[in-house]
């Protein structure tokens, strides 16, 4: 025994912070701009649009006596576009209204834009078995990886970007009460849409969740109501089987049933495989904008394979690699995704993200307005 230490006392304040900065450059090849008047006026259909995003993401949490907490997470984004301008189009020169409309429609795809998003800002009070929280917060009740029909308060899930790689998701504005007693946990949430971003179709939501871990099943029952909409209910579970398998699923009811079943398998060398099957009803709440209302129930498949740190390959120990495919099983369209991440010391990393949609122009993923989206970027984390 080489030293004598006195046990440290519990601090009255606990302050944690994080900061990340990302510079992401995305090249959309063979862009087909989703402009109401422009698609047929492009001089050269093979436009490459460069979108450079600089993201600054500070976060902090302050706890006082393990009883009070205050947390905030925000992101500032500066987007700069290159590669598309009014000169790429052949508008009828004698119709100034069309030219003005084209300029207005191109505005989101040109120049520089800056925006500030509050991802989370909330205050919390912990009293005995109760936790009370007020503010904007990201809540995740779903168990699916690429899809989550029962995650009624979760941020919108994008199956081609399930991990929200640029951390742009925002929470819901809510008052939340949690009661935890032994293996039982109850949550009651009222969420308002008053401060929701313009253009979102969020409504005021009241939701309740009961969660219990029983015989290895992490199970939740969710019920709630959207103001002016229908009531909904859901059931979620996850279960680990042996040392390598994890199964998860969700069943949700909102006018009709939506089902998700999935599994994850991890090899002894650390390669993970995830597979999911998802079948949502074709109602406005679940429908993707590219799906016709008359298309009927859609079925989706999702496959992922990835490994963090390729230690077994000489010279590749700092690399993470993953591939995934998300497929609409009805119209056979799909998007293939490749992610490669390279660590550079303790604070920096660089990455490559590739999305390749495939399918007819009228199909779910074939309607994506580019042939390949290539993102490269550098990330700094503190």
């Amino acid at each position: 025994m080489i030293a004598q230490d006195a046990p440290s006392l519990e601090p009255r304040h606990d302050f944690r912070y994080a900061f990340s900065a990302i510079d992401d450059a995305t090249f959309d090849s063979d862009l087909r701009p989703l402009l109401p008047i422009a698609a047929t006026m492009l001089k050269d259909p093979s436009v490459i649009l460069l979108q450079n995003q600089l993201l600054l993401e500070p976060s902090f949490t302050l706890r006082y006596h393990s009883r009070w907490s205050l947390a905030s997470s925000a992101v500032g984004v500066t987007e700069t576009f290159h590669g598309l301008s009014a000169a790429d189009f052949n508008p009828p020169m004698n119709d100034p209204a069309v030219v003005t409309a084209l300029d207005a429609a191109l505005e989101p795809y040109t120049g520089t834009h800056t925006q500030f998003r509050v991802k989370e800002t909330y205050a919390g009070l912990s009293a005995g078995d109760f936790d009370f929280m007020l503010g904007r917060r990201i809540v995740r009740w779903g168990t699916g990886y690429a899809f989550s029909p029962a995650g009624v308060l979760d941020p919108p899930r994008n199956p081609t970007n399930p991990t929200d790689r640029l951390n742009l998701n925002q929470g819901r504005d809510m008052a939340k009460l949690d009661y935890v007693r032994g293996p039982h946990a109850f949550s009651l949430v009222w969420s308002t849409s008053a401060l929701a971003p313009t253009g979102s179709n969020l409504r005021d939501t009241t939701a309740f969740r009961y969660n219990i871990l029983v015989h290895g099943f992490d199970t939740s029952l969710i019920v709630g109501n959207d103001r002016g909409g229908d009531a909904f209910g859901g059931l979620t579970f996850t279960r680990v089987i042996g040392q390598a398998w994890e199964l998860h699923g969700e069943a949700a009811w909102r006018e009709h049933e939506a089902i998700l079943l999935g599994g994850k398998y991890t090899t002894t060398s650390g390669v993970s495989f995830i597979g999911e099957f998802y079948t949502p009803p074709n109602i406005p709440y679940y429908r993707d904008m590219t799906i016709a209302p008359t298309a009927g129930r859609q079925n989706y498949g999702f496959i992922y394979a990835g490994k963090s740190r390729l230690r077994e390959l000489p010279g590749w120990k700092q690399w993470d690699l993953s591939v995934e495919i998300v497929d609409n099983l009805n119209d056979r369209s799909y998007t293939g995704i490749l992610d490669a991440n390279r660590r550079l010391g303790n604070h920096f990393s660089s990455y490559l993200h590739l999305e390749v949609p495939h399918g007819s122009r009228a199909s779910d993923f074939g309607a994506t307005p580019y042939s390949v989206a290539t993102s490269i970027g550098v990330r700094f984390q503190l």
């Binding site: 080489i2 006195a6 994080a18 995740r140 699916g144 929200d164 969660n211 303790n346 604070h347 990393s349």
Partner: protein, 252 residues
């Protein structure tokens, strides 16, 4: 004369029985209670029923430091461990162990992920190397032999996993004879493959309780790789049950 022979024979018989009895008792006394030793050895990594500590894991490749990570571990009893990731790249992640079940929460992933104790946390350290430190709960112990390791007399225990959440299937465990302090360990998979070894390098007195301060994990498959785990800030702490609730995915 016959009386003297009779007394002598009786005396020799009693002496023989006494000698045999002594041998049996001495042999029994020389075989240590493996379960009690294992339980005592756990106290060097779990000094209090409820405590917190910080673990710095430094990974070395070919003798050069590769990367280091910092974690804060909160442990309550033998069944509940909560690990908060404090390194820049991992901030916001945390790991929860409840009995045989483990979850990792990644801020950029949509949900908590169920994981196994053997999955790697950093370098050669598995989740279970940090989160599952009560061997007496996870393994059955059998006394194997006594041997000298360096200048220390050690008991060698053969540990076999007795619950599904155990990190390894088998552990060979060297404990110092005088105080059951862990000195060395070898870890084996179900297949029998020897995947890691450990040396328990340094202890410190915390409030009068001897606690492990530094140990090293050696990769037995890739022999040029090792990870050093250094503990600091060890302190008893009252921890609420709700810290260990699997549904709380909303910690920072």
């Amino acid at each position: 004369m016959s009386n003297i022979n009779c007394v002598l024979r009786t005396f020799l018989l009693v002496l023989l029985i006494g000698l045999l009895l002594t041998c049996v008792l001495v042999c029994r006394a020389a075989t240590p209670d493996a379960e009690a030793l294992l339980k005592h050895s756990d106290s060097y990594r779990n000094g209090w029923p409820s405590y917190v500590l910080r673990v710095k894991i430094t990974h070395f490749e070919s003798g050069k430091p590769d990367e280091d990570k910092l974690y804060e571990v909160s442990q309550k009893g033998t069944e509940k461990t909560y690990v908060e990731f404090l390194s820049p790249r991992e901030k916001g992640q945390h790991l929860l162990m409840l009995g045989d079940d483990m979850w990792v929460y990644l801020p950029d992933t949509s949900r908590p992920i169920r994981i196994t104790p053997l999955e790697r946390l950093n370098g050669d350290a598995s989740n279970g190397d940090v989160a599952r430190t009560n061997f007496a709960i996870d393994y059955s112990a059998v006394y194997l032999r006594s041997e000298k390791l360096g200048n220390q007399n050690c008991y060698v225990l053969d540990l076999t996993a007795k619950r599904k959440g155990s990190t390894y299937q088998r552990v060979l465990y060297w404990l110092r004879v005088e105080d059951a302090r862990p000195v060395r360990a070898e870890f084996y998979l179900t297949s029998g493959k020897h995947i890691k070894s450990a040396s328990f390098d340094e202890y410190v007195s915390v409030g009068g309780t001897a606690q492990l301060r530094r140990w090293t994990l050696y990769d037995e498959i890739r022999h040029n790789s090792r990870s050093v785990l250094e503990y600091s800030g060890i302190a008893p702490r009252e921890l609420p049950d709700k810290l260990f609730y699997q549904g709380r995915t909303d910690r920072f």
